[in-house]
């Protein structure tokens, strides 16, 4: 008689879909701590001290524990994965990260990230394109075109911004894609040789790609959620809709 059905959080629904797709593509899941060493969060990812890009990270430092931060991205897990195992690597990681940013409708101080890493003998941007097209097709249904634009992240070179064809207007132009027909979804690129070395690999032997996206950023247009603060409100009027 009463409504017995429980509901999963949209971020979990998205996580299920990601884990399902990538498990079928042969990926393992990597994990790492949220309280992270400065070295794994910055230095090993090619962000040395005093670098302006490091400032921009708006990091939460921990009182009384030196060289420790709340991780600002899930990328340190890639370093750990490389150090803990032997190549080739094919891993994804989904977890929480923290930025010291003012909270508003599109920014939270804590958020979820999804990252992928593939390292082998001959992995290229062409493999990245295929992997992402396959992923977005499984997420959104049907064929989804992906395009790369030049960008910069310290841990990849070449670095790209990845756009997908707008799923609301199929590329015709609408408010979601600001009439461009494309939505920016993630950053990606070929793993920087410094990062490979920090992970104990020889860049002349191994190469590969990495990508990362903010889960809320993708969940918001997909589930049509207008304000990021809903995710952490604990309000069943929100959660029980999914």
């Amino acid at each position: 008689m009463s409504n017995k059905k429980g509901h999963l959080h949209p971020l979990t629904l998205l996580t299920e879909r990601i884990v399902d797709t990538f498990t079928q593509l042969g990926f393992n899941i990597a994990e790492g701590p949220e309280l992270e060493q400065e070295k794994y969060n910055f230095d090993d990812l090619n962000l040395p001290p005093n670098h302006p890009a490091r400032d921009m990270q708006d990091t939460f430092w921990i009182k009384g524990i030196p060289h420790t931060v709340l991780r600002t991205h899930t990328s340190p897990v890639q370093i750990r994965a490389m150090l803990e195992g032997k190549p080739p690597y094919r891993v994804i990681t989904i977890g929480r990260a923290y930025r010291n940013e003012a909270v508003d409708a599109t920014h939270e101080a804590q958020f979820y990230q999804f990252e992928g890493l593939v390292i082998d003998k001959n992995i290229t941007l062409a493999h990245l394109k295929w992997t992402l097209e396959t992923f977005f097709a499984s997420l959104l249904g049907g064929e989804v075109k992906v395009r790369f634009r030049p960008s910069f992240f310290s841990f990849v070179e070449p670095g790209v911004e990845v756009d997908i064809e707008c799923f609301q207007c199929d590329g015709g132009g609408c408010a979601l894609c600001k009439s461009t027909g494309w939505i920016e979804v993630m950053g990606a690129g070929i793993v920087h040789p410094h990062v490979l070395r920090a992970g104990g690999l020889d860049p002349t032997e191994y190469q590969g790609f990495a990508f990362g996206l903010g889960m809320e950023r993708v969940a918001m247009p997909m589930f049509k959620i207008p304000d990021i603060r809903h995710f952490y409100s604990g309000d069943l009027r929100f959660i029980d809709q999914f």
């Binding site: 949220e34 062409a126 493999h127 394109k129 097209e133 790369f148 070449p158 809903h230």
Partner: protein
């Protein structure tokens, strides 16, 4: 970086493509253009220059270079290596302490009579988002936005002379020294700030801002023009500690080539000579202790194809590198490449591969399937977590995710935001109790009599971070069936035992908290421990997932509850009654819930069924009044009464 089409036109020989086309080309091959604005007669592109290209592209010359390469059009003005021609060098003394600057050029320019900034210059500054101040200052600003080299002009007659020399010392400030900026802001030095000092006092914060004592004004007839290259780290630290950030400091912080200073001085002198008919250089000194070595990069001819996954002909690769201004020597299987001086970002072969890839065009990459790969066994707990969550949801539990910060705990953040709790949580129980309390008020709106919730999240006790699991239960006020703490424990632990294939004792041992607050119960478990005692964990299975639902906004206005019960003839389904109610209730009926049903046999042997419904009314625009809701109820009652065999109780 705001880029003016009018200024670009002066840098190119031939007609430029339309601004829209330029924007598209830049976005796909160099930097995202975030918008185009009409400013007077000009069109201005808002170019998001990537952080690693601040060395050369926070300038029109830099962005023009990209446009030139993308559209294959010739520039009349480019970055060039220039030599300075020193003159009367003994009238200027330059000291650079501790390698705080790589280069320091001073040019003395005289004959600057009273003038107005030319109209084109004023308009260009407006396009850059700046405003015209005075012709000398305008010229300095313009050259910075044109070349990327910040410049500073000192009124020569206000500069202290010492034994026939003007002195410039690049050094650290001493504690207690003071300095008054052009904007009349007084800076009291802590010691260590990067400054330029004259014979007696501080003339300016190096690379950031000049001082009022030597400021250029309407009376200035002679200037000392400075073009220098300051230590990026020291400029950044000084800007941070004095809290003064400028267009100049931004460029120095990211690092620029010392070769750019010569270009900046040359362009500035040219511009001043254009504006002031009598302007001429009377002295120039170039302190350039160490010319940088220009790195050579050995690029394997196969590397671009190897990383990009697309074959690019060797000749195309060489062509792209040469168009960038690189010096390229072809060898048997490699290229020896010397990048142009302004490209401080190019140091390893992969940097060159990126240049080749983006200028050739990433659209040329065709997707290639990943090779076959056998997955290792998973040691991660995420899949188990997902299986557990699904299981809990199918047993009536809804998932909560909460923020990690609290007002107390073991681990504290050193730099919390204002108004933010500084500690990391050590448990999930307190927040779940609060959540149940707020949600139970909306129970009817949600359509549940009892709420069941759960959360899996990281907690940070001093022993080390771990995952915690909480399950919560709350019952609405006035609900008949209430579950006590023990009964809920039994339900929860039975479910966890079933989900994770571990016996209930082990589940109980992993329970770290059991709390009751009014009519809410919250149980907390050490999730890490639960997973470690399971012998075989449940397997995550791939399954066709349902299409995602989308979010509909909910109202923040209060809702109104009404109950209605009706006798119906035997065989009537509750859905039939619901349908009648929904059709007559109007748009503001948000939820209808059957809460009671019983059968009765009448005197004449016929059977009747009574159904009782809880109705929830709510508006998106206003608080509903009793009178209004009464109206809706009357409409419902009327519709029910008119149905054959129905009788309202």
């Amino acid at each position: 970086m705001l880029i003016s089409r009018n200024v670009l036109k002066g840098i190119f020989k031939d007609e430029l493509p339309s601004t829209d086309k330029i924007a598209e080309g830049l976005t796909m091959h160099a930097f995202e253009v975030e918008g185009i604005e009409r400013v007077g007669s000009d069109e201005v592109l808002d170019v998001d220059v990537l952080p690693n290209r601040a060395h050369d592209c926070l300038s029109h010359l830099g962005v023009a270079g990209e446009i030139s390469r993308i559209f294959d059009i010739e520039q009349t003005k480019t970055f060039q290596l220039l030599d300075t021609a020193e003159q009367a060098r003994d009238t200027i003394k330059i000291d650079i302490e501790n390698k705080l600057a790589d280069r320091f050029i001073v040019a003395v320019i005289e004959g600057l009579d009273k003038q107005e900034s030319p109209q084109w210059l004023k308009e260009a500054l407006v396009s850059f988002g700046e405003r015209s101040i005075s012709p000398i200052v305008d010229a300095m600003n313009y050259i910075m936005f044109l070349t990327g080299q910040p410049l500073h002009a000192y009124d020569l007659d206000k500069l202290e002379e010492y034994e026939g020399e003007r002195r410039f010392t690049v050094r650290e400030a001493r504690e207690g020294e003071t300095f008054t900026s052009l904007e009349e802001e007084v800076v009291e030095c802590e010691g260590g700030e990067l400054v330029i000092a004259g014979a007696k006092s501080i003339l300016g914060l190096a690379g950031i801002k000049g001082g009022i004592s030597t400021a250029v004004d309407g009376q200035t007839r002679r200037i000392a023009l400075e073009a220098a290259t300051f230590s990026p780290v020291r400029v950044r630290k000084t800007a941070q500690s004095t809290k003064i950030k400028t267009n100049a400091s931004k460029r120095f912080e990211n690092g620029i080539s010392p070769e750019l200073a010569a270009l900046g001085i040359a362009e500035a002198v040219q511009l001043l000579e254009d504006i002031f008919s009598n302007a001429h250089v009377t002295a120039l000194r170039d302190e350039y202790p160490h010319k940088p070595t220009f790195p050579q990069i050995t690029l394997s001819a196969t590397l671009p194809g190897d990383l990009l996954g697309v074959d690019i002909p060797k000749a195309t690769v060489q062509g792209i590198l040469e168009k960038m201004g690189c010096n390229v020597t072809e060898n048997a299987s490699t290229f020896t490449v010397t990048p142009p001086f302004e490209r401080l970002d190019l140091s390893i072969p992969e940097d060159l591969v990126e240049e080749i890839g983006r200028l050739y065009g990433y659209e040329h990459i065709t997707p290639a399937p990943l090779p076959d790969h056998t997955r290792d066994t998973d040691t991660a707990t995420l899949k188990t977590e997902l299986v557990l969550k699904r299981f809990l949801a199918s047993n009536g539990f809804s998932e909560i995710i909460t923020r990690a910060f609290r007002n107390e705990g073991d681990i504290e953040v050193a730099n919390p935001l204002a108004n933010q709790e500084p500690f990391l949580r050590t448990e999930l129980t307190q927040s779940m109790l609060d959540i149940l309390e707020t949600n139970i008020r909306n129970a009817e709106l949600i359509g549940k009599e009892a709420l069941r919730t759960f959360e899996v999240g990281t907690v940070f006790p001093k022993e080390g971070e771990k995952k915690s699991l909480v399950l919560g239960y709350a019952i609405a006020k006035g609900a008949k069936k209430k579950m006590g703490e023990d009964a809920f424990k039994e339900e929860a632990e039975r479910l966890l035992s079933e989900a994770l294939h571990i016996d209930e004792d082990a589940v109980r041992n992993a329970r770290v908290g059991s709390t009751t607050r009014e009519s809410s119960v919250v149980l907390e478990f050490d999730f890490t421990q639960l997973l470690s005692v399971a012998e075989t964990l449940p397997v995550f299975e791939s399954s066709p997932r349902e299409p995602f639902s989308t979010f509909s906004n909910f109202s923040s206005f209060p809702f109104v509850l009404r109950d209605i019960a009706v006798w119906t003839p035997e065989g009537t389904s509750p859905e039939d009654v619901e349908l009648t109610i929904k059709e007559s209730a109007g748009d503001l009926l948000q939820r209808i819930r059957l809460f009671d049903r019983f059968e009765k046999t009448c005197e004449d042997g016929s059977k009747r069924i009574s159904y009782a419904f809880r109705l929830v009314f709510q508006s998106f625009e206003r608080t509903l009044s009793d009178e209004e809701v009464n109206m809706y109820m009357k409409a419902i009652e009327s519709a029910l009464t008119q149905t054959e065999g129905f009788e309202i109780r």
